[in-house]
């Protein structure tokens, strides 16, 4: 059998027809299914316009799940199915509306399911408010609700937590609320914490965040091609310069390898912009979390296709050399998307680094 990193990258570009699917909306790469593939894990698109053309499908046979390519069996897979999804908080909210399992050991929540840019300058790839509109989540999660879910999730093997702030119309960009949640989760649940946010106006907030328990942070520019970014994520394009300062400050506080930025491939950007962006990030000590674009139904880009497997494979192979030169690796990252690695095959391509 060929190396799993190639299979993972191909699945993330081509999708899979699956009898099981997870959230179809929300922040980050939704509309997928998480597959445990041997010693790695992959979140794979299941949106019909992608998956219907894919040679891959998941079949259930005698109580087991198998990945098939056409009629050929590829390997047995697992789809994580957390039991804590069946529980409710003391105030009656289903745990599933508070936080979800990402990958196999990461609990993820969007603390404030609102984004100030949603109406006028929303990111065309993001479905952060769609899951709120559909009733799949609640607008605001309290630290206490999160702790309740985290303690239950920890019993099922969860080791780290990703907190996405959303972006409320406040100067702290939601970081203070994330810091409150981080402190409670760190003190009471003893989990590693990752927080994702937009560049704040006040950089001293980063020190507060670290002091209250955050181990890693994600500050996601998404794309280094300014023309594409202006079209796809106009609010982020406007604060383009701010990212540089915040990344530098964050690396100084959290350390190299503990700061990351998503770079989405497949929105119209050039390969050169991906490489240059990865170099800049790596030179700053920021892990460039290169992911294939994921179409989310209901978003402006809901009908687009992910980038080709061939393109992603070539990019991953090139970017690993940048990681190597900078001494970066997902293995050194303590929490969050980089450590989870379900949404990108880049960590899997690090083999031999």
């Amino acid at each position: 059998m060929r190396a799993l990193r190639y299979l993972k990258a191909e699945l993330q570009s081509k999708g899979v027809r699956s009898p099981v699917r997870e959230r179809m909306r929300g922040a980050g790469p939704a509309a997928g299914v998480t597959l445990v593939l041997g010693d790695t894990i992959a979140n794979v698109p299941v949106t019909p316009h992608v998956a219907d053309k894919s040679p891959y499908s998941i079949k259930r046979q005698e109580g087991k799940l198998f990945l098939k390519r056409g009629e050929n069996l590829v390997l047995e897979v697992e789809i994580p199915s957390p039991k804590f999804y069946e529980l409710k908080t003391r105030d009656g909210i289903p745990y599933k509306k508070v936080a979800l399992l990402h990958g196999k050991d990461c609990l993820a929540t969007t603390l404030i399911q609102k984004r100030i840019h949603w109406n006028a300058k929303r990111c065309k790839f993001c479905g952060i408010e769609l899951s709120l509109q559909s009733g799949e989540t609640i607008e605001r999660k309290t630290p206490e609700q999160l702790l309740e879910v985290a303690l239950a999730a920890k019993k099922e093997g969860v080791k780290h937590v990703t907190i996405t702030t959303g972006t409320p119309p406040t100067r702290d960009k939601g970081i203070l609320a994330a810091a409150d949640a981080a402190r409670l989760l760190k003190d009471e649940a003893k989990l590693d914490i990752h927080v994702q946010f937009e560049p704040p106006y006040d950089l001293s907030l980063l020190k507060d965040l670290k002091a209250r328990g955050a181990d890693t942070v994600g500050i996601h520019i998404e794309c280094f091609d300014k023309r594409v970014l202006s079209e796809v994520a106009p609010a982020k394009a406007e604060m383009h310069n701010a990212y540089m300062r915040v990344w530098e400050e964050a690396v100084g506080i959290f350390g190299e390898n503990q700061v990351s930025s998503y770079l989405i491939v497949g929105m119209g950007e050039s390969d050169e912009s991906v490489f240059d962006g990865c170099k800049v990030l790596a030179e700053l000590g920021v892990y460039p979390f290169v992911v294939p674009f994921r179409p989310i139904p209901g978003t402006d880009f809901g009908k687009k296709m992910p980038p080709s497997y061939e393109r992603m494979r070539a990019l991953y192979e090139e970017v690993t050399t940048i990681l190597r030169d900078a001494g970066l690796s997902w293995r050194k990252n303590k929490a969050g998307c980089v450590r989870c690695r379900a949404c990108s095959a880049l960590p899997d391509f690090e083999v031999g680094l």
Partner: protein, 88 residues
């Protein structure tokens, strides 16, 4: 005065250093600093177009902020230069 120059991606490769210190006359601007880099390292084509303007999308930050090239520098300022695909 002394100004710290930080280079990223292709500029780092072209110059062969990730940072350096430039000695400039008092009253020098960001443009003067870039011109000196051109003289020292032959990177004019990468920084400027045929009309002498900064190339589209080359990003130059002074102390972490985007500013006009005619902005006057102060002793201890830091200039960061990023490659074309990164800026805009």
């Amino acid at each position: 005065m002394r100004v710290k120059i930080r280079l990223f991606a292709m500029f780092r490769e072209l110059v062969g250093a990730k940072e350096m210190e430039l000695h400039l006359e008092e009253g020098s601007s960001i443009f003067d600093a870039l011109s000196k880099l051109c003289e020292m390292y032959g990177i004019c084509n990468e920084l400027f177009n045929e009309h002498g303007k900064l190339r589209d999308h080359v990003r130059v930050l002074r102390n972490g902020r985007g500013e006009e090239l005619r902005s006057m520098l102060k002793d201890g300022d830091e200039i960061a230069i990023f490659p074309p695909a990164v800026g805009g």
